[in-house]
């Protein structure tokens, strides 16, 4: 036996690795060390899904997002619908009514025109469904091998028509944490399609626009403190970020959270935590405690958030904890990098 000197030391890479793209702490570290430092300004520092800027008495929200999903078509959606839903949702999470979208598309030499037409059609259909026009765009073609079929970047502009200041820093101890539905379907649907995995029952992505349930909360006069869609890194990432920004603790009740049995099974097999798996049609709403029951009723009355649950509450302290299925407490961590199946 030797001493313990040869343990596995994680290295800080000089190259960007795929782990930097997982939406976890490594993504944060990369962005902090590069773009956030370079662009530093108050709107960016709010660490929200989009930026809200007041101009001439109007609060304008804007957001931008790149979409590189593989496969381009997956159960429950495709790259086009995903891009439009994601942009609408980022605006909705600012409490902003979406007004318009622009899109930049990068095509790889050799991609089928039929596929490009399909993506254009599903972008148009997704935008039309929420009454938001796609008003400008840009198309570039790169050499074969320099892209992965189709990449789409969308930018959205919206307007806040209510007096609330919705952002993580507004979250205070006592607030209620609502989650708009079951967790993990998008991530498992895409992973299954990508890797050719077959699980019991077809798992379709939850990708959908979330402006309607957010609008319902605002119209009902709910005191909304923060909204966050549960995309890369899942519910865990969203809540860990909010807790860190607001300097509060968040206590989840795991039994309250819904996970489809097929998603649950896939997560068990792959060694994934459903709290870490991506969603594209789910969000967390953190509201004033006294409005919790009414907010839940309002959400459940909408098609998009019919499965909403009261998932937990905000307390003083730090970090996110969860009451487990057997009644103990565990710390909920942000996923570190990509969601990959574990060996054991």
């Amino acid at each position: 036996m030797t001493d313990g000197a040869s343990c596995a030391l994680p290295l800080l890479p000089s190259l960007v690795t795929l782990a930097h793209g997982g939406g976890g702490r490594l993504t944060e570290q990369l962005v902090d060390a590069t773009f956030r430092r370079a662009f530093d300004n108050p709107a960016l520092a709010a660490r929200h899904d989009g930026a809200v800027i007041a101009h001439a008495g109007v609060r304008i929200a804007t957001t931008t997002d790149g979409y590189v999903v593989r496969p381009i078509v997956f159960p429950g959606g495709d790259l086009g619908s995903l891009a439009i839903h994601g942009t609408i949702n980022d605006l909705a999470m600012c409490g902003a009514r979406p007004l318009m979208i622009t899109a930049a598309v990068i095509l790889e030499e050799g991609v089928a025109v039929d596929l490009v037409q399909r993506i254009a059609g599903s972008m148009a259909a997704a935008a039309r469904a929420v009454g938001v026009p796609i008003v400008a765009g840009d198309t570039k073609v790169v050499e074969r091998g320099k892209g992965d079929g189709i990449y789409v970047t969308t930018t959205g502009v919206g307007v806040c028509e209510h007096p609330l200041d919705i952002q993580p820093a507004r979250v205070v101890p006592g607030d209620a944490v609502l989650v708009s539905g079951d967790l993990g379907r998008h991530g498992i649907a895409v992973m299954s399609a990508r890797e050719g995995l077959a699980f019991d029952g077809a798992i379709a992505s939850d990708s959908q626009p979330l402006w309607a349930p957010v609008a319902a909360l605002l119209e009902a006069g709910i005191e909304v403190h923060c909204l966050r869609d549960l995309t890369r890194g899942g519910l865990a990432m969203a809540l860990v970020e909010i807790a860190a920004t607001a300097r509060v603790a968040i206590e989840l009740r795991e039994r309250a959270l819904a996970v489809d049995p097929a998603v649950h099974g896939a997560c068990e097999v792959l060694g994934l935590d459903p709290l870490h798996v991506a969603n594209e049609g789910r969000f967390a709403a953190i509201v004033h405690a006294e409005h919790a029951d009414r907010a839940l009723a309002v959400l459940r009355a909408t098609r998009e958030a019919a499965g909403a649950v009261l998932a937990g509450r905000v307390a003083s302290g730090e970090g996110v904890t969860s009451t487990t299925a057997i009644g103990t407490t565990r710390v909920v961590e942000a996923p570190r990098g990509e969601q990959l199946p574990r060996i054991c």
């Binding site: 313990g4 343990c7 795929l18 487990t324």
Partner: protein, 363 residues
């Protein structure tokens, strides 16, 4: 979910915890051998349910943690070669050798692919006859049958461009090494259920007898682990040291004959270096000479001799249950999950990360 939710029932967990508390009259240190059990203990906060005098020690059963740097360095060299496709399980990507990790090799242009099993790698080899496809095979006895099957099929079907870089380890020799020192700091063992579903119980009986230590073969759900602990504590309190099987729904006393025959056909027992622990005689599996054509170590090796990098990390002692993570001078200060000095602080399954998180939760 059927066959899972039954083993996560809060009422039954409470009853088992009460049973353990009633039985325990003295301080005991029980080691769970497998990283999967450590994961469940942390995931379900099981330590919270146990009396304070009963300490769970996390064992060496994390194949990712114990894979030696020399094998990883060879894997990284191979992955960087043009014409080579390196396939492995997802959690091997972040494990560093002495210079880089597979994420880094991939970012620099290496062809690294995450697969869900060794047969996927075999299919890649079939689909790309012009490439050398190497599967990095790590793990305990549990994953050995599937890996053996992939090599066996490669030979049967003449898939000459498929090879395996084998770093398999065996549980009983590692337990022997942990139990032998006279100053050992553990009283009972929870053996890894899945390993025993292949190997059976027989290898564990001499260990229990020779070292006077109770060994309970245990599953991976919260109630499995609590029941395993309860059985272990009952033995300790009664002064018994037997091999018992908590995980009888998956483990037959004599294991799985077919799987073991396949392992014997393809693999032979070899000496193996355990990262952080050192070389343990006859503690690993390597490919037999008959399968040399599919042995990446013979085709591309030998693995480079590497000096252990100088670090403050004492994970080797932690993995042997000889040092509590909180006793490490770097714990929670210079070493945290965000800035880890060693593998056990990296993942939620790691012993150091487990202690770190539990302490935070308790606070």
């Amino acid at each position: 979910m059927k066959y899972v939710d039954e083993f996560r029932d809060p009422g039954a967990a409470r009853r088992l915890a009460d049973d353990i508390a009633r039985t325990t009259t003295r301080p005991w240190r029980v080691m769970e051998v497998c990283g999967g059990q450590t994961h469940a203990i942390v995931r379900y906060g099981l330590a919270e349910l146990l009396p304070p005098t009963l300490e769970l020690i996390h064992g060496p059963g994390c194949p990712v943690c114990v894979t030696p740097a020399a094998i990883l360095d060879l894997a990284h060299d191979l992955a960087a070669r043009p014409g080579v496709v390196l396939c492995t399980f997802g959690d091997m990507l972040r494990v560093p050798g002495t210079r880089t990790d597979l994420y880094g090799v991939k970012a620099a242009g290496g062809d690294v692919r995450v697969v869900y099993g060794p047969l996927d790698a075999l299919h890649i080899a079939e689909a790309h006859p012009d490439r050398d496809v190497v599967f990095l095979a790590v793990g305990f006895e549990t994953t050995a049958p599937a890996n053996a099957m992939a090599v066996y099929q490669a030979r049967q079907r003449g898939i000459g461009n498929f090879s395996m870089l084998v770093s398999h380890v065996l549980v009983p020799p590692a337990l022997e090494a942990l139990l032998a020192p006279s100053d050992r700091r553990l009283d009972g063992l929870l053996a890894a259920g899945h390993v025993c579903s292949v190997m059976g119980l027989d290898e564990y009986r001499p260990l229990a007898a020779r070292h006077a230590v109770p060994i309970v073969v245990t599953g991976f759900e919260p109630l499995d682990i609590l029941q395993g602990v309860a059985m272990c504590v009952r033995q300790l309190e009664a002064g018994r040291h037997e091999v018992e099987n908590q995980y009888a729904r998956a483990v037959a006393p004599d294991g799985n004959h077919h799987a073991r025959a396949l392992i014997r056909e393809v693999f032979e027992v070899v000496d193996r270096d355990w990262r952080g622990i050192g070389e343990i005689a006859a503690s690993g599996l390597g490919l037999r000479a008959a399968y040399a054509d599919h042995d990446a170590l013979r085709r591309f090796g030998p693995a480079p001799r590497v000096a252990a990098p100088a670090t403050e990390c004492l994970s080797g002692l932690v993995l042997q249950g000889r040092l509590r993570p909180t006793e490490c001078p770097a714990f929670g200060t210079r070493c945290t999950p965000d800035r880890p000095l060693g593998a056990p602080m990296v993942s939620n399954e790691g012993a150091c990360a487990a202690y770190y998180h539990h302490r935070r939760a308790a606070r």
